[in-house]
Symmetry: C2
Subunit: 207 residues, 2 copies
């Protein structure tokens, strides 16, 4: 252990060990909204989960819809970046897809905008809806682009890459429910990921 006299003199810089309040609220909101959707979540619930009062939430985010949008946009951005990182690693696409699937299945977060936006359409301004749909589109494109490149190399059937990417995301959502059904755990995750990618890859037709 280091002795005290080795410490730099003066007051140590503020290390910001606590997460900034706004970020704490954003994370709590994202968790709530992904679990229950927009309408079923109250601002009190988000505040409790973030460890602050409701007034603080309104201080940082002017309304429930704004909080919803900001939280979900952040989720989509982080998901897109992690997805891109995994898909850009080396090796055969089927392997990268399997890894991506295992990773995503281990997180309870849904990426399916049709799930997320359920029950929020009436409350959101159409400009907010538009922005969120575009965020989803960007995520789908990350996957579709990878598929399209493989198709160009003749390593995949020539089909609509965006359609295939959305199909993958739909299966991913199903997989999360399947894991909850089978009781969770890493073994179950690997098993479901394997079945899921296999189905996407080969379909149900006999070889």
């Amino acid at each position: 252990m280091r002795k005290a006299r080795n410490r730099r003199p003066g007051r140590p810089p503020q290390v910001e060990v606590d997460e900034p309040t706004a970020e704490k609220i954003l994370r709590a909101a994202a968790d709530c909204f992904m679990e229950e959707g927009f309408a079923a979540v109250s601002m009190d619930e988000v505040a409790d989960r973030a460890g602050v009062t409701k007034a603080v939430v309104y201080y940082y985010f002017g309304s429930k819809t704004e909080l919803f949008q900001r939280a979900m946009m952040e989720v989509m951005r982080a998901s897109r970046e992690r997805t891109q990182a995994i898909l850009r690693e080396g090796g055969p696409l089927s392997e990268r897809l399997r890894k991506l699937t295992r990773t995503r299945l281990a997180i309870p977060a849904t990426l399916d905008m049709n799930h997320i936006l359920r029950g929020s359409q009436r409350a959101l301004r159409k400009e907010q809806l538009e922005e969120m749909h575009q965020a989803e589109e960007r995520l789908v494109e990350v996957i579709a682009q990878e598929l399209a490149e493989e198709m160009a190399r003749g390593r995949l059937r020539q089909i609509d890459a965006m359609f295939a990417a959305r199909s993958y995301l739909a299966l991913l959502g199903m997989g999360q429910a399947e894991i909850r059904r089978r009781g969770g755990g890493q073994a179950v995750i690997d098993e479901v990921a394997e079945e899921l990618v296999d189905l996407l890859w080969r379909g149900i037709e006999p070889t």
Copy 2:
């Protein structure tokens, strides 16, 4: 045209041209809940859509959760029966699946319980949740059984039939969103149905 004297004497039996109130409410509720989920729908909205007042809705259904459960159970029952009817027609399974897909894609109704139950878990009693999950299970089994029979005949790969059935339903949900994205219409429905069944059948692997 028949003459009046051929009519049976006396007052004609009440033909019930109007749908019974309870059924009208059930249909209105099912539409609302499938569009927006449990939490985002108010009893006033259901009442308006059914053309009655809120008090009437409470006369027939004691609470919002009861109305939700009854409406969704009815939807699942009807869907299961129509699905079974189509799958039991003759011809190759791929054709029957295509027809089923076109039929289901033409209806905006979601069959995905993970969509439907979103934001209702906290409000529903666990016995109600259980009942609805069982209703979904029965629908999945109808599809899985058909797949399992084909597998037994060697006309499909030997995979988990329930998993494959759920995958199909997940793709169906994706297809409905895809149709809205492409602007609807019968041509779009046929196109998406074709792509969807093709993907399920053959996967993305090159032939």
